[in-house]
Amino acid sequence: MKRILTIIKYMFLKNLRDTGNTLLQMIVLPIALILILGMSLSPIFEYRELDPTSVGYLNEDEGSMSVYFDQFLEMPEISELLKVHQIDSLDQGLESLKKGELSALIHLEADFSAEVLSGGNSAIHITGHPERELRKAIVENLVEGFVSGANATRAMLVMGETEPVYAYTTGILVDHPVSSSGLMPGSMDYYAVTMLVMIIMYGALYSSFGMSESYLTNVGQRIKTTPISRKEQYTGLTLSSVLIVYLQVLVILAFTHFVFGVNWGDNIVMIMLIAFVLVVLANGLGVMVAMVTGNEMKSSNLINAFVVFSTFIAGGYWPINLPGLLNYIRYLSPNYLAQTAIFNTIYDGPADQVILMLAGMLTMIIACFMIAMIAERRAVK
């Protein structure tokens, strides 16, 4: 244990001095990037008020349920979001939709109420403009609220109620605050997370360089001739790299919070834990690459390339959506796993997502260190 502490102490001291400039860069660079990207790309993250969606409405039913639906559409919460245009025929509505005068068309057939009350197949038909998916989705979501009420009415009838009173839900219209201090990140908040994650990943260079210098080459070989065991030497070197990178993390967290006012959420302990797991993963990656290549320059190039790729597919430089199967590649990116875990922690996302991402990172850590150990054993000639 004493020898491990000796290695940690002197490697930490050496890293502080040797990388005086590097250390500064590793702290200043992400802070500068957070500031620059946060300010210049802020429009991407701005919340914009949506105009009401123009909807054509054709009601051919004269029963009670369609009356309820009329009332539903006239509710203030709905009319803020939907601008309803009564139309006379389906053809007229489709024509207006085609011309782009409408974003969606709602159609109640003549037997709508009768079907609802008799328990038959009833439907509110929604046709959307092919190029206005978002608008159609808004209409569908709003109508969903009414359908929930209709289903409840039908259930009451089935249970024997003779005159069920229709009550539609307004739960879907709960007003969620959408601001940088609330449930959605502003640009500064977004880049504080992605740049922190990116810089932790660059921390792999510390362990890679440390392993190359203090394990594989001159001084490392010399240390091996002392009574220290290889395991102690290996552990000491890895822990010293973890320590120096984690120190940077704490400085960046504090600086961005107190100076830039970045929202790190209410659960800072969890954020620090996720960051710590990623620091260990980054160091594991660095150790693995150093052991497999056995060459400092190759290791450095590989790590640099991987961090750029991993940051990109995780949306670290700017938010991206990857199509289809490519989207699953993100799960191979430590950046993506860490970012998802951090965002879900800050913005009250599902806890199981955080646990899943942490489990993914822990699996990667085990894989990295196992590969590194196998490569190390092969390297001893």
Binding site: K2, T6, L13, Q221, R222, T225, P227
Partner: protein
Amino acid sequence: MIVEINNLVKRYGDNLAVDNVNLAIKEGEIFGLLGPNGAGKTTIINLLTGLTRFGSGEVKIFSHKINGHNGKIKKHIGIVPQDIAIYEDLTAAENVTMFGKLYGLSGNELRERVGQALAFTGLDERAKEFPKKFSGGMKRRLNIACAIVHQPRLIIMDEPTVGIDPQSRKHILNSVLELHEQGSTVIYTSHYMEEVEQLCSQIAIMDQGRIIAKGTREELKELVSSEEKIDITLTGANYTLVEKITKIPEVKECSLGEDKLTILTAKNSAIIGRVIDIITATGADVLSMEVEKPTLESVFLTLTGKTLRD
């Protein structure tokens, strides 16, 4: 014996780096491993220190077989590697302290030993400076300080004087002698035959992974030489002088140049007194005299057909 190597073999693929080497090194000796670059000296050092696994054979240090980690054995060995192995971003004192701690020293003992090691290598006044400001020779000395901080019983020095200035070289050679006087056993590898000749009481000559000769300096020279050459610079010499000297039974050949007399005799024939008498009797004056004996270089040349620096 402090080190025993029996039938040691090490291969790197098809290359036989160490070929059935046998060595026995007594406690208190300065043992020289002499050979050209690539002869297998560093491989032997790496095998002794556990850095490299050997193929077959047996190595014993302090009567313990080397296998696995060997922490207890390593505690009493100090290694001065061929390449300078120190941290440029730790001060001289921090470098030595770190190695002292790794060798198990602590507290006052550590502080004292660090001071002694730095003083021994002449770096005590530069203790707080970073090696990146040091000359090559000073770095070499710090390289040694890190190896002797724990006052090991066995010090292994692998070409410790490569590429340094004469002053630092002299300092290092004197340090080796001083360490020997303090009771340490030293294994010293070099391809500078004059260093090995100056320092070592026992010498093994290596080439292509094999020990081609071993023994004391004198024993090695005995191997290759049956003659001595005497060069005498003189004035007033004539051919009568050559005739008279040639009549000495041990003299094999004698020739006279412009002012130089060259005599080839059987080894250790002790004829100098008689030669001087003859020269004086013929009225000539001796200006200088040199007896040329075989060197380790000539031993190596004879045994391998090439020079050490080939």
